[in-house]
Symmetry: C2
Subunit: 199 residues, 2 copies
Amino acid sequence: MRKGEQTKEYILQKAAQLFNERGYYGASMSDIMAVTGMEKGGIYNHFKSKDDLAVQAYEYAVDLMRQKFAAAIKGKYHAVDRLQAVVVVFREITDGSPLTGGCPVVNTAVHTSHTHPRLHASAQETMIEWQDFIRRLAQLGIDRQQLKPDTDVEMLTTLLISTLEGAIMLTQLHQDDSYMDRAIAHLTDYLQSLALPES
Amino acid sequence: MRKGEQTKEYILQKAAQLFNERGYYGASMSDIMAVTGMEKGGIYNHFKSKDDLAVQAYEYAVDLMRQKFAAAIKGKYHAVDRLQAVVVVFREITDGSPLTGGCPVVNTAVHTSHTHPRLHASAQETMIEWQDFIRRLAQLGIDRQQLKPDTDVEMLTTLLISTLEGAIMLTQLHQDDSYMDRAIAHLTDYLQSLALPES
């Protein structure tokens, strides 16, 4: 990677973290200068505006999540194992991976609702991507006769995301992992109840 | 109510709505002047600062929710009926009641995390209050032999709030009630599975 690209990635990483915690309106250019240790001019060498930086930083964060989801299911064949691996990626959000401050999609959705249509649309697109990802894992599990044929794929998708995102919020708010632990225990039972016995 | 109190309540109502949608940093005093149709001086007759207004507007929003929860369980005796009534109050958030823009507690939690410790602590306190409320309804249901004696009260509380708050987020993000419908269908089955048959 060239020096310029390294610097750009460094800024994206710091800004993604800052925006995830503080939101677009809660993070000023001064804050970004403080966390990067860079002058305004140095940042604007790589980004046209705060807006441009925020949009790219969001995409950077989502890409970190995308890589985590891909790595999590790699080498797993059974739909229950894959969906459990997805659950683990959500759990790791509360451990600060890939970013501290909670889920970048939900944070961006809440932070930019009514105030930043472009970023809000990005959050919406990411959530649609995540839903499609879970839906496909479930559907493939049905096709491969790993999950019961009457598994309600939409229900599974909604429950997985709702319960995990809600539990991330509670765990973040109270700084207490037990919310996430309970949510995962429930979802584990739920996923296992959908599994077909090995034939 | 005296004229001054009426004006104060009018400002609180408008500001609570605005802060719920835009967050503390996304809503400026100019925005508050625009939604109230009042001059800055008129607003500052009733509130010391934007901060003071935001804190009181949040308490106003939480009080609307508190009244809704109290009204929802009124006249109901069975724990399952009461918990279902609580679920309906959460559903109504997605219908814009008492405020449009989603759950004021989660919105405030996300909007003020890392940026406004006072408001963030308020969101935390409200969530603790809601958890206690659900926990007490469940525990009373066990004591009255309406719910199975081995009902896991903490699990029930976490699942109810996580699933509903997550589903509110999805329904808000996609402007699609089906997320909330599925979450409620699942929670209804769950609550009914905890009920003891009438003796």
